[in-house]
Symmetry: D3
Subunit: 308 residues, 6 copies
Amino acid sequence: MNTQRDPDSPRLFDNLNEVVSRLRESRESTHKVRHRGHIRELPSRNAMHEIVEMVSAVLFPTHYGRPDLHDANIDFYVGDTLSGALSSLAEQVRRALLFSADERDPRDGGLVDKAHDLTARFADALPDIRAVLVSDLYAAYQGDPAATSISEVLLCYPGCVAIIHHRIANALYRLGVPLLPRLIADIAHSSTGIDIHPAATIGNSFFIDHGTGVVIGETAIIGRGVRLYQAVTLGAKRFPVEADGALTKGVPRHPIVEDDVVIYAGATVLGRITIGKGSTIGGNVWLTHDVPPGSNVSQAQMTSTTGM
Amino acid sequence: MNTQRDPDSPRLFDNLNEVVSRLRESRESTHKVRHRGHIRELPSRNAMHEIVEMVSAVLFPTHYGRPDLHDANIDFYVGDTLSGALSSLAEQVRRALLFSADERDPRDGGLVDKAHDLTARFADALPDIRAVLVSDLYAAYQGDPAATSISEVLLCYPGCVAIIHHRIANALYRLGVPLLPRLIADIAHSSTGIDIHPAATIGNSFFIDHGTGVVIGETAIIGRGVRLYQAVTLGAKRFPVEADGALTKGVPRHPIVEDDVVIYAGATVLGRITIGKGSTIGGNVWLTHDVPPGSNVSQAQMTSTTGM
Amino acid sequence: MNTQRDPDSPRLFDNLNEVVSRLRESRESTHKVRHRGHIRELPSRNAMHEIVEMVSAVLFPTHYGRPDLHDANIDFYVGDTLSGALSSLAEQVRRALLFSADERDPRDGGLVDKAHDLTARFADALPDIRAVLVSDLYAAYQGDPAATSISEVLLCYPGCVAIIHHRIANALYRLGVPLLPRLIADIAHSSTGIDIHPAATIGNSFFIDHGTGVVIGETAIIGRGVRLYQAVTLGAKRFPVEADGALTKGVPRHPIVEDDVVIYAGATVLGRITIGKGSTIGGNVWLTHDVPPGSNVSQAQMTSTTGM
Amino acid sequence: MNTQRDPDSPRLFDNLNEVVSRLRESRESTHKVRHRGHIRELPSRNAMHEIVEMVSAVLFPTHYGRPDLHDANIDFYVGDTLSGALSSLAEQVRRALLFSADERDPRDGGLVDKAHDLTARFADALPDIRAVLVSDLYAAYQGDPAATSISEVLLCYPGCVAIIHHRIANALYRLGVPLLPRLIADIAHSSTGIDIHPAATIGNSFFIDHGTGVVIGETAIIGRGVRLYQAVTLGAKRFPVEADGALTKGVPRHPIVEDDVVIYAGATVLGRITIGKGSTIGGNVWLTHDVPPGSNVSQAQMTSTTGM
Amino acid sequence: MNTQRDPDSPRLFDNLNEVVSRLRESRESTHKVRHRGHIRELPSRNAMHEIVEMVSAVLFPTHYGRPDLHDANIDFYVGDTLSGALSSLAEQVRRALLFSADERDPRDGGLVDKAHDLTARFADALPDIRAVLVSDLYAAYQGDPAATSISEVLLCYPGCVAIIHHRIANALYRLGVPLLPRLIADIAHSSTGIDIHPAATIGNSFFIDHGTGVVIGETAIIGRGVRLYQAVTLGAKRFPVEADGALTKGVPRHPIVEDDVVIYAGATVLGRITIGKGSTIGGNVWLTHDVPPGSNVSQAQMTSTTGM
Amino acid sequence: MNTQRDPDSPRLFDNLNEVVSRLRESRESTHKVRHRGHIRELPSRNAMHEIVEMVSAVLFPTHYGRPDLHDANIDFYVGDTLSGALSSLAEQVRRALLFSADERDPRDGGLVDKAHDLTARFADALPDIRAVLVSDLYAAYQGDPAATSISEVLLCYPGCVAIIHHRIANALYRLGVPLLPRLIADIAHSSTGIDIHPAATIGNSFFIDHGTGVVIGETAIIGRGVRLYQAVTLGAKRFPVEADGALTKGVPRHPIVEDDVVIYAGATVLGRITIGKGSTIGGNVWLTHDVPPGSNVSQAQMTSTTGM
């Protein structure tokens, strides 16, 4: 009963000290490794979000950049925005390297050098990334009868957001940068509902329409000119288990999709199977075996209707 | 090899100039049309986001507006917020008109007049939009056993966010405003996972429960009192192709759903078919043909279970 | 025709007064109850968003908190952040209590006392919530072959975001706080595509992979060590209807999932059925009946392939 | 010597706990009264800053308000901005009343009622405040040969900022609101270098040019049409001392300046003296005695010049 | 008496409507001219503040710009920041031109062209402005024994802020841009206490130490190498009056200060007099007549001291 | 002539490239030293501003901190805010050390260690700083008949802001931290008009009333219980010149003011003179010689009045 307590005593904070102590105990019992010695700053999701927005603006300045761009000032904008993105990315790469290192001193100058080197290589890759993304945009424009212009694709298509994030994340992944590619993939997943593992290999002219619920696994390999619709899964059929019962990590376990394949909404493709070039996989199809090039796979339809 | 380079030289920016040049080349080779002459400001996604939030607050001020509203100040709030929303929308409409025009001078006063006119017509439509949205809210409250009040629907239901965005986007679409309706639809898609093309025609008392993965296509027509669950697709079965291989744009290709139909989670309805009044379409059903009024369509269930 | 009007007269605001009046009429006709008397501030979604972020930082400060945390300052950070979260939460709880009360004076001191009491109880629950969440994190790390560390799970997994939000929302739900649990659930739904009703009961070591499209209903009961994949529905089969045609609210109508069950992507489990301990439900399975412990339920696969 | 300490141990936070403890001791020894019982929120300088900006926008909406104001929307803007300002001010008034009360419970409903009452009275006074401020603006325009328009005065004159703040602060002072008038005066002092005690009585058509260093004391009385320049002091000559050695508070001790007086830069006027109507006080004059109406007081000039 | 009123009725907003009406009447009676026809957006003080900060960063990028600047990225930064500043300034110049025009249509394209032209000319002047400012910085470094580096002058000296603002404001003034120069001057005045009319002519190597209270009038002319201390006034002695009693505007009425003059704190120099080259004016001197080159003017000191 | 140019071509950016080049030339010719090699981040004024605000909140949490502080949470707030302030200050100290070093590598770990050490020493000094500041607050409360409480002094007195900044800046100065003390002093100067060199030595119970225009020089020494009014200068009489014509830096050249001295508004005290204990210096007095303890120095008053 509360009736006896002093009305002036704000019960709100009465247990604050105790809760803080119990949380410390909880951390200490479960999380023993980190923070004994020096401070280890983790990569920041917000920072990565801003970096990807800056890189997107560098790649497509008239659509994602400032509204007043013109031939006379666009290179200044691109150079300055890129410069800011690289400074910030280099710091996040440093943190990611430190995060994945076992016993590194955070003030180790070598980490800074390595982070700068990886970041500069990433910058080098941007013009090629842009070229591939342009092929993706054209694929979207040509693949959706509702699309009225490339600009509409850039501004309004979640599939466009997803592929830009993926190509950036994948470039960092291939450079060996830890953690950041996953952060970028999850940022895209959160805003689009499209979940592409950064390690997935995807050819150019790739288009995902609508997209919510699409999942593309870590070891998937996708050719050129592939088109997916919402809720398509390119997943693993089963997970190999180690002798000790733990899941084996890193084994190829996701599909290979060859060039010019179309996979309609809701199709589930599982395991290290190959969908041959030019095949069409129908909506809701459940596929766990190879199909030869040029196949049409559709779900057998069985519904029962009862009338009035 | 890095060993010879001056440790003071931050490699981070060494290739900055070159990357900027290569990006310029990439833009010039792929993107020839825009920005030769004057500056064309594109519509802004952030601006549209804020406009929709302001319009939502105008429509439901006690739920989406300031917390201190009262009979004595609510009209001032509504009038001022609407006024700000219209100023900002008029500018976005101007940009959208300019964007879709072929060779328009951005300082053309006629565009401003047209944008003001379209924006004022949009304002005119708001009370009617509100009336339809109120029917949608009641449909949600009555359609979900977990809903405890209309306010809870307004504050917590993604289907509510989706339908408010859609009715705003559709009103702009019907006025002939380019691009902005798609932007609004994609903003709603990103936050709810519900993807409704702004051109879709939807009757009142409409409710989508849970909603993630719902797709409603450009030419879909939905009657009154319809209820959808998550992952329902009202899509196109196939895309007509032009003689030149390009997809034909704008052809009616999505379903007609008559009054009082319920479609359960995961159902896929494809093509210009009609679902008759009062029908129920079961979960996961794959439907590509007309069904008469009052039908119950359910998936034939086939699962194989193996026990211990 | 516009040709006669004064070009100086901005038509933009010509109908502002009239639209404001018609919106007021619309509010008055549909929304009679609220705001006759005093001001009732509704709970704020943005405030709840910040509160959940602060509570997440309190639970996992080195991952969601400030980057400079260290043994020497971490308790100050946790205590101060928790203190700010509790102050803000107490105000939201007060609003929620007022919102659900019928005829309460907003300045009623008793509401403040009750809000403080409920908020302090919530604080008490945090160490236990943390312990359960740690079990969830280990389940994620062990359940996904692509996961490389617990930190990666905390930073990059939408399933992690969803379960943190759920455990916070559920704690408030069990304390009897109205509305706020739903707000928290919808905030998580919007960012992850995972829709868990705050009333759902979920045991520890729970993991959702990918997650987009998952729906877990109000009366679902989930045991320990359960793993779900994207687009799994634990839903109601049908809704009991009252004599007056309204849906009955609050009846147990969602599945019971026993310990150590795995449910693969796209499976739909409907009604108050029980999935026995240790069972595996395959992808896309449609399940509406009990299955005994140790079962393997898989979809009968029927696809028709036509080749070149 | 640093060489022995562990390089991983960040000395930065080593003494954090001890410093926090010593600060607590310092607070406890010097500041015994407050915060034993409940929380007393102090008025917020930032909140008062925003309130004065909102009230300024209410008074002169086309200069200090939104840029898109027009006959059709200006009253909505004024009403909504005023409404927001009053809500916020009422809360600050409540805090100020609580602050000055001896043993008040912060949740005492009577304080809220009194704060609402005072705030509504302040609102009532605004049209009259505006009328006086308009006279001040005309005085500035006519009094400065460099002024080109009333708008320039509103946008660019620190004397205008100072008098708007003063008339707002003085209205609250006359209503008996504690502390807030001083906060407003100091906000103006900080941005203009003009220090007017909120209790000072100032007639209409008042103008301060340049203004830096002007000081007008608590009990000063200034007539109509008075003009001051920078660094003018209307101060106290001496401070009466109580029997116990403390300064006596509240005694009239600052000058009376009658109508149409001009006081040039750097003049110092001290004590409860009267400067008669229409007098001119020259730059740098030091004045501690009454002067009759129509006087010209100038400094005797004495400089010694030594040439090359 | 309040005892009878409904406690639920928040008196706070009871008079809102009436106050809004009375404010409208007040505006209509005093402020007849503006806003009858179209909307006239006034220049924005906040926008000018940001523009001056951007221009300062363009002039001294390593001190006022981003912290990561380096040979490889500095020109991108300068070009992009300048480009943003010019876009924003062009809009403010357009508003200022419209503001000073009598009956101009705000959509008049000619105003845009004129604003662009004036803004581009301002850009042209920036390298020369920078050269003069560098001379000012060296003068500060050499003139203050407490200064330890040029960087300290740039970061910590209010005189440096004041002269940068003045040289920018004066360049716009000489181009004939209305209002904006005054806004810039008042922004500097507010942050430094130094009040320089934008029309004042100031030679290079100019330094103001401490600075609070300095006033330099509209028609003042200052040579090279002049040094001022706090509270120096270069003002008008009297204001010529027109036949109708109004002050004559624009007449030369402030001092001419020749090269290499030093004026110590608190000196007041009034009227169109000339201080000859190389003269020194002592602290607190009151000077209203010409002094020949090389003079030393000091105040005759008269103080009376009474001891214990 | 403009008539020939393409109206579409925005002249606004035509000279952008050229201006950027000329600015680069200007930088290269005048500013040769910096930025040849690595990036040197300068201390940030904004960062120092935030640090001083955080430290002020640490010292007086109930006045400058969060509004919800209470016995139960105040130490968490103080510890967390202090921790954040120290992290940020350590980085600024590192930059300041680097800035003042001649040829230091910015990645030199030794600088980090030294910065951490100096920052921790600064933290150590905070309780003593607080004790002195409390004496200053009491001096203000007792010295101004208009002050109604210590809280009013903390919230509304510019002299309070100035002395808090000074005592922080002076502590850093005595630790040998370069540049940052000057930045803090100038931040206070900008908001209060009070300019105290961070090297000035000031005893406890110090109070400045009104304050605009006060200047206290680098080598001034002020005893206990001293009170100053606005526009008082404690300055240098003349600047010793080196053989090469440069000013000698660092020589004692400002006054010594002994305990319990009062100096009224506008007094100018110049040179290494001593004002004896308990003396009173009148307003506008010009003082350049020693005065013995207990003196009263007042200006001989000479004004000429001409009446009607």
